[in-house]
């Protein structure tokens, strides 16, 4: 195997055990068992409506679960409140629709969390914020408002905003699906370099190039279940389940 990133440590960072989630009568997550190791990059793939977003959102409890247990770095997820807010700040999240704060400048988007949640000094947060903006390649946009940026730039700012909290793990929910094709790569490049630096990442994406380049493991979901898990090369070339084969034949034809 020719994976380039640092090897995962073998130490569990995110654990989901027996997770069940319903939306009313709809059973959206079924018996989810998933362990992500520190430094590991897991790509979650599957048909629309299979529960990928919901899975992501349960990990920082934007969605509460009905049954089962989720631990991040050995800590069970607390109930809503201050404790949970603290834990969430350790789990970075990047959304499909960026969700930057439109009334704040790019730099303020990145410093808001460190200042308000981590109680960092404004100057320190700004210095660090500018470093992160440089790292994702938008240093020269710091004083602009999000609406003045392209989609690709906005998504890179969103990644910088999440990184500013120094998270233990980053969740990406289809980070490139809302982008024009020519902007997809600039975002994937940032994510690939994060992966190489050893960030623990759970990435919902259908970008197979990224999965092959950066992922240690592909998790295939269908109808609320994890159907198959395999290293990317193996998953894409010889999936074991019929459902994965069927799904891949659909996304590969276009």
């Amino acid at each position: 195997m020719t994976t380039l990133q640092k090897a995962p440590t073998g130490e569990a960072l995110v654990t989901l055990r027996g997770v069940q989630k319903h939306f009313g009568a709809l059973h959206v997550l079924k018996d989810i068992e998933l362990t992500v190791q520190r430094g590991e990059v897991v790509v979650v793939i599957g048909p629309s409506g299979s529960g990928k977003s919901t899975l992501c959102r349960t990990i920082n409890r934007l969605e509460p679960i009905d049954e089962g247990a989720i631990e991040v770095d050995g800590q069970p997820l607390p109930q809503e409140g201050r404790e949970l807010a603290r834990l969430r700040s350790d789990v970075g999240m990047v959304f499909q629709s960026f969700n930057l704060f439109p009334h704040k400048t790019v730099l303020q988007n990145v410093t808001l969390g460190p200042v308000k949640v981590r109680r960092r000094k404004a100057e320190e947060a700004e210095r660090r914020g500018r470093e992160l903006l440089a790292r994702v390649g938008v240093a020269d946009q710091a004083e602009k408002y999000p609406a003045q940026l392209s989609g690709g730039q906005q998504q890179r700012v969103a990644i910088a905003r999440a990184l500013a909290m120094e998270p233990k793990v980053m969740l990406f929910d289809e980070p490139t699906s809302a982008l024009d094709p020519e902007m997809v790569n600039e975002v994937l490049d940032v994510m690939t370099s994060l992966a190489r630096e050893g960030m623990t990442m759970i990435v919902v994406t259908h970008e197979m190039g990224f999965a092959r380049r950066a992922a240690n493991r592909v998790v295939f979901m269908d109808a609320g279940r994890i159907v198959e898990e395999a290293p990317p090369e193996q998953f894409f070339t010889s999936p074991r389940s019929d459902r994965a084969r069927d799904f891949l034949s659909k996304i590969l034809t276009h």
């Binding site: 969430r88 700040s89 959304f95 808001l112 949640v117």
Partner: protein, 215 residues
């Protein structure tokens, strides 16, 4: 016609001063209380949501005269004794804050849910999410409807004259007693209200334009 105004200039000035004071004091209280009520109505605590909804439903569906009535005659029974002016402020604020609440809530509803989620995802508490992310955006969207509520409040202050407050709404009856034509008196009162409300309308238009620019 003109002497109705000039002969009673002091009365007009004094009464409109009271009207403007009622407007400013009740308006300020309503803005603060209405925003808090709006926050209650979107809070994750069910009891707060229920209390907020109950308050708004009750106050919005009660005629203002009744609110005045309950305050002016209910409070003294509870041994709460204020001036007529203070009773009027309480009644007007209690009533108007329900409308401000709804305007603020409609503003909150224009803010995409992803905004609150992004704020929570970086570890903000409910209070921080609201004050740092949701309300600044919601209040911009709420400016036009809130200004309409305040303009309605300016006119609603005239109910206070029925409860012992010498504001502009009392001018007509007073002048009638003094033997001036009621119609002339009312025309001057109407002119006075145009003068009070016009700056509000102009502010509303200016703020609306500013909000559009900041998007």
């Amino acid at each position: 016609m003109l002497e109705t105004l000039t002969d009673n200039w002091d009365l007009f000035v004094e009464a409109f001063r009271t009207t403007v004071l009622l407007l400013i004091v009740s308006g300020a209280i309503s803005l603060v209380a209405g925003t808090l009520l709006g926050a209650m109505r979107v809070s994750p605590v069910p009891a707060l949501r229920t209390a907020g909804t109950a308050y708004v439903t009750l106050l919005r569906n009660t005629p203002l005269t009744f609110v005045f009535f309950f305050v002016a005659f209910g409070f003294p029974r509870l041994d709460i004794r204020f001036s007529y002016f203070a009773f009027a402020v309480v009644a007007l604020s209690a009533y108007t804050s329900a409308f401000v609440c709804e305007a603020v809530r409609s503003g909150i509803n224009t803010v995409h849910v992803g905004q609150a989620e992004a704020a929570r995802a970086i570890g903000m508490t409910f209070g921080q999410t609201l004050t740092q992310v949701v309300l600044p955006q919601a209040l911009r969207a709420a400016v036009p409807p809130v200004m309409s509520v305040i303009i309605a409040l300016a006119k609603n202050t005239t109910i206070a004259s029925g409860f012992g407050v010498m504001e502009a709404g009392a001018i007509g009856a007073t002048l009638n007693e003094r033997g001036y034509p009621a119609f002339d008196a009312m025309i001057w009162v109407a002119v006075g209200f145009v003068i009070v409300v016009l700056p509000l309308s102009l502010t509303q238009r200016r703020l609306e334009r500013a909000v559009v620019r900041s998007r």
